[in-house]
Symmetry: C2
Subunit: 345 residues, 2 copies
């Protein structure tokens, strides 16, 4: 097998402890000794066995991030931020995906890689409060996203209701009155979109408009195809809203595709607002107005919370910080609003 500390020690004619000291950069080693040991390390091509170190230390320095799909750029972009934030604390991130399956979410939250992962950041879709309460795994868990739980875990999420209200207010301000909502869920799974939907309802009500539930379209998932299908379904029902607020950018982009195919102009015939501010939305032919959550802040807060739990510095009560967001206005609501600088974000 591999070269161990013992082999190096033998070669250098010193004890294991001394080699360990050199490897770990301990201060009290004479330069001469250090050089001699280093020579042996190089000769043998020694590489520390981190697995053994992990066993001994009881921690690995690895945290996991579990998101529904890599295919959704929002999570891909977020994952990049989490990796960077974790690196600043000397943690490596193991990125995993739950494929939108409840089964997989349960497995992950129950610590499928017990003791190899120090902690977990999870963005759930299907998990319920009771699942969380039944959790036996002791590794710290930090939650991400729109779902709400009555469980004692740190949870990082922007103010989805306020953000959705801003989006709808923007549309109302432009004179739109028939604003559809694309991407709601039904049954047990209605949770994910419920805050943004609530924002839609509240802002309409505040403007004296009775929310028209026939303008709310349920989708199977959260992808481009779901948005395209939902928009088509709405139009096929003979409904012609003057604006669309989508659960996320992908749904909005899918909806825009359908509108283009049907010969409807954006925003002249129908204005569109998304949610997430994925990079793609700055490059669509009609650039997409959207809510931009502060992804870097979300990642930083998630990692910081987890690291705080990991080092035992955290308070007993769960943290519920609110990273920021802002409305980014582009061509899909106001023609010519985009100055032609897609890098502006």
């Amino acid at each position: 097998m591999g070269v161990s500390l013992k082999d190096v020690a033998q070669r250098a004619g010193v004890s294991i402890k001394t080699v360990s000291n050199v490897v770990n950069n301990y201060q009290h080693v004479t330069p001469a000794m250090r050089a001699r040991v280093q020579q042996a390390i190089d000769d043998l091509g020694y590489r520390p066995n981190l697995t053994a170190r992990h066993l001994r230390k009881g921690r690995t320095g690895i945290i996991a991030l579990a998101v529904p799909e890599f295919g959704n750029p929002y999570f891909a972009e977020l994952a990049g931020e989490v990796v960077d934030a974790a690196a600043r604390h000397d943690y490596t991130v193991l990125v995993d995906h739950t494929a939108g399956l409840r089964e997989k979410e349960l497995l992950v939250s129950q610590g499928f890689r017990s003791h190899v992962i120090d902690g977990l950041i999870l963005s759930p879709i299907h998990l319920e409060t009771e699942d969380l309460m039944a959790r036996t795994e002791t590794a710290p868990l930090v939650l991400l996203g729109e779902r709400e739980y009555e469980a004692p875990y740190d949870h990082i999420a922007i103010d989805n209701v306020a953000a959705a209200r801003e989006a709808v207010r923007h549309l109302l301000g432009l004179g739109h009155r028939h604003i559809a909502f694309l991407g709601s869920r039904t049954g047990r799974e209605r949770q994910p979109a419920h805050l943004r939907l609530r924002g839609w309802r509240e802002e309409l009500a505040a403007a004296g408009i009775a929310p028209d539930e026939s303008l709310v379209v349920v989708t199977d998932g959260y992808g481009r195809e779901d948005g395209a299908t939902a928009m088509a379904a709405l139009l096929d029902r003979g409904v012609r809203p003057d604006a669309v607020f989508a659960y996320n950018d992908l749904i909005a982009i899918g909806a825009m595709r359908t509108l283009t195919e049907r010969g409807l102009r954006i925003p002249e015939d129908i204005a569109v607002v998304g949610f997430d501010d994925i990079e793609e939305s700055r490059y669509t032919t009609t650039t997409l107005t959207t809510i931009a959550p502060d992804k870097a802040a979300i990642a930083r807060l998630a990692v910081d919370s987890l690291v705080a739990r990991l080092s035992g510095e955290a308070a007993a009560e769960p943290r519920r910080p609110r990273p920021g967001h802002r409305l980014v206005v582009r061509e899909s609501t106001t023609p010519g609003s985009d100055s032609g600088h897609p890098e502006d974000h």
Copy 2:
């Protein structure tokens, strides 16, 4: 700390070995005994310490996938496929990104997580053959992507030259004669795009057209913004090609954005072809003609190669399989070609 085998054994009044047998589902355990041990496991909430198991077995069941960027949907989509392929072999994937930094690529290839990952799948940009030859890490490595190496490692890549030639042939067949190439590299880093660029040259030459090097545009990176900038630079130089072949879909999408802003119609004024077939390309307002590499096959071949090395079944010589690809024709080269079914792919 945690509950160990010893604790469970004590509680159940049996030996450690028996508990281990139950945990590992060994056959020769009486049902009564199994039940008794299971009870103790449940009572104590025992979870096997995988770190210890890894140390003992000398392997972890974790493989790493290192890609340049999560932000590029091609890699995000590929990562999803790799995770799935690995799961079929009971391997967990640790996804990492190199941020397009040579430094990071070196670190990863040298096994920055020695002994915690059994093997590595790497999609390099900057790594050179000599870096690979100097590699001391013993964990198997499988390479992905367009770069070519004179090093004894398995390498999975489609036939980039042939694919590029198909793309150019498609444009030639439509009557285009001034076909620009967007996304070349210069200096030491010219490798990544060189095969696709060679395909461009070869196909033009085969058609009796002398490749016009002023139509080749260098980009800083591989993103949408790079494509937008490159297209703008070309037009600002007063060059007006009748078609554009981009190194990848993101560059093509960025280029399309610039064309739209400049009031040029796609494909009537300028046709555009990309490379990668990311989902986004099926939803752009003018859907994008592109080369679709068989991502599932790439992922499968990469994982299979790695697993074969891991289990020692692999031949001595490096494998160089060629997963398939195909040209997908959409609106960006032939108006109305898209039937309005973006799910077609």
